[in-house]
């Protein structure tokens, strides 16, 4: 082993320590946690997880999160695919300004928008629905998806489009059956980033929901404060929020790095 590999190894250990601690906590009883320090769970218990899987407030939190995150990923991709195609293939009035304007939407602090978002979505009758959160997250996910997809599309030679037209394909048929499959890695990467940023964002999701669409992370903060100091339960819920992301990242591991490398800036 080369000595330089120590750098990533130490870094990964540093990353895993707090995660280990969260996992260890989730298998401890509240008494053990508050009773003193122990590196491993002494009275190994699954009670914390049992509570989450049997109480509907908890497991509905997961369903809600997964539902609006998936909805957001689908909306973002459907809207971003044609837009990215236009930015990559056509030149039209104002295209560069439009592209920069899209990116500026990532710069607006979510804390600034929380209250106006609440008013906006209440006034259109979408408050406390999954659709509201999914649409609100489009604010930062669509620009990112357009940016990533544009990079992938620009690396596909224009001859592909021209050959398809010569062969008599209509635009729609070409776009759906030839073009999109040729950039499926890019679609995967864009989907991953939409999923990721929608999954981790909480401020807007919390502002736009009350009961029916409340995300899991919000359930955690509210339950934790109302039920006192239930650290074990909090830790177990935290561990479960890591799992969906870990599954998604496993599937796109080979494309992540590439996705950014091809993006344009």
């Amino acid at each position: 082993m080369k000595p330089r590999y120590l750098v990533p190894i130490i870094y990964i250990l540093f990353l895993l320590l707090p995660i280990y601690w969260l996992i260890a906590m989730s298998f401890k009883t509240t008494n053990e946690i508050l009773g003193g320090f122990s590196l491993f769970p002494q009275n190994f218990t699954l009670d914390n997880y049992r509570t989450i899987f049997t109480e509907s407030v908890w497991y509905w939190g997961y369903f809600n999160s997964i539902l609006y995150v998936s909805l957001n990923t689908v909306i973002s991709l459907i809207a971003a695919l044609p837009a990215a195609y236009a930015f990559s293939r056509y030149s039209f009035i104002g295209d560069k300004h439009l592209f920069f304007w899209l990116l500026t939407n990532r710069m607006a602090p979510a804390a600034v928008f929380a209250l106006p978002f609440f008013q906006l979505y209440s006034s259109v009758g979408l408050f406390d629905t999954h659709l509201a959160v999914a649409l609100a997250h489009c604010l930062f996910n669509i620009p990112l998806a357009v940016w990533i997809l544009e990079g992938f599309m620009s690396s596909v030679p224009k001859e592909l489009d021209e050959t398809a037209y010569v062969d008599g394909y209509s635009f729609h048929r070409f776009f759906i059956t030839v073009f999109i499959p040729s950039i499926k890695a890019g679609v995967g990467v864009a989907a991953f980033f939409c999923f990721m940023f929608s999954w981790v964002e909480l401020l807007l999701a919390k502002t736009l929901t009350a009961v029916d669409a409340k995300p899991i992370a919000a359930t955690m903060t509210r339950t934790a404060s109302s039920a006192g100091y239930e650290l074990g339960l909090l830790a177990a819920a935290g561990v479960l929020t890591i799992i969906p992301g870990a599954i998604v990242i496993y599937f796109v591991r080979n494309y992540i790095a590439k996705g950014f490398a091809l993006g344009r800036v």
């Binding site: 750098v7 870094y11 990964i12 990353l15 895993l16 320590l17 707090p18 995660i19 601690w21 946690i33 508050l34 809207a79 971003a80 837009a83 236009a86 293939r89 030149s91 039209f92 009035i93 439009l98 899209l102 500026t104 939407n105 990532r106 710069m107 607006a108 602090p109 804390a111 600034v112 929380a114 106006p116 978002f117 008013q119 906006l120 649409l135 604010l139 669509i142 357009v146 990721m196 999954w199 981790v200 964002e201 909480l202 899991i216 992370a217 955690m220 903060t221 650290l231 830790a235 935290g238 890591i242 992301g245 990242i249 496993y250 591991r253 790095a257 950014f260 490398a261 993006g263 800036v265």
Partner: protein
């Protein structure tokens, strides 16, 4: 060469509508509030630019802005070189590459309030792994709920833990796009490791590093959830960054006018710095 085709606008329309709905309506609401005074009951009075003047002169805003600048500059100074160094040290191919990438991406996928909660239990003085080790094994007096310096260091270490991987992923993507032939040419010329880095790797990483600095700048400048869950802005006001202060004014005191004016100033600063950096970095390209 791209074809000039005004139909491009049709393709962009759905994106335009969705983003405009989310961006312009709330932005106009904020602009509206920023020039008015309200006493509740939906009664508003025009006050012109008074809130802007008050905020630009208020010591509270200066202090929060100062803390925010200090935080953002510190994490950029740590995360960017560290991320590049880790990317350089990583293997380029083989079984361990995906393993490294998956493990390193883990922190990026944890909801932000869970990150805060996780660091909270990690650093509890007597029962957290870090808190216990520092206090009882190494004998360092550490309690971030009392000591402002400890709170600052904890918030910064948490951000480094959370976001350095993004810099690593981006730099690594830049590195693997360098053709092998470049390294062979450098070897023939007898170039040192430093000159390979300075003249081959760094220029090739310029684009992705620009993205990394921009993303890290924007996101750290807007950071709210993680430090709020970890320290609540305390002890005292010591870790009250701009967003935390803003939410205190807007929702805690319900001073909508000043809060709106503050968010516009805040947004303008982010926009100006990002634009300046973006223009400087891409100036040579075209």
């Amino acid at each position: 060469m791209k074809t000039v085709n005004q139909h491009g606008w049709l393709f962009v329309l759905p994106v335009l509508l969705l983003v405009a709905f989310n961006a312009l309506v709330p932005l106009m609401t904020v602009v509206n509030y920023s020039v008015q005074e309200t006493f509740g009951n939906n009664q508003f009075f025009w006050v012109g630019l008074r809130w802007f003047e008050e905020i630009l002169q208020s010591e509270r805003f200066h202090a929060a802005l100062g803390r925010q600048m200090l935080f953002t500059v510190t994490i950029l100074i740590i995360e960017i070189p560290l991320g590049v160094a880790i990317a350089l040290a990583m293997p380029r191919r083989g079984f361990w590459v995906p393993v490294c990438l998956v493990l390193m991406s883990l922190p990026l996928l944890i909801p932000w309030n869970v990150v805060g909660a996780m660091w909270n239990i990690f650093t509890l003085p007597d029962i957290g792994l870090l808190g216990y080790t520092l206090n009882n094994v190494l004998g360092i007096d550490y309690n971030m709920t009392q000591d402002p310096l400890a709170a600052w260091i904890t918030v910064i270490v948490m951000d480094v833990w959370h976001w350095t991987s993004l810099v690593v992923l981006l730099s690594y993507a830049g590195l693997i796009s360098i053709p092998e032939a470049y390294y062979q040419a450098a070897k023939i010329d007898g170039a040192s490791n430093w000159s390979v880095f300075r003249h081959i790797q760094l220029p090739k990483m310029k684009r992705v590093l620009t993205i990394a600095v921009l993303l890290r700048f924007m996101d750290s400048f807007n950071i709210y959830t993680e430090p709020f869950v970890l320290t609540g802005g305390g002890p005292g006001n010591s870790t009250t960054l701009l967003s935390i202060d803003l939410v205190k004014v807007a929702l805690g005191q319900f001073d909508l006018g000043p809060a709106a004016a503050m968010s516009l100033i805040y947004f303008a600063i982010t926009l100006a710095v990002s634009w300046l950096f973006y223009t400087l970095m891409t100036r040579d390209d075209r």
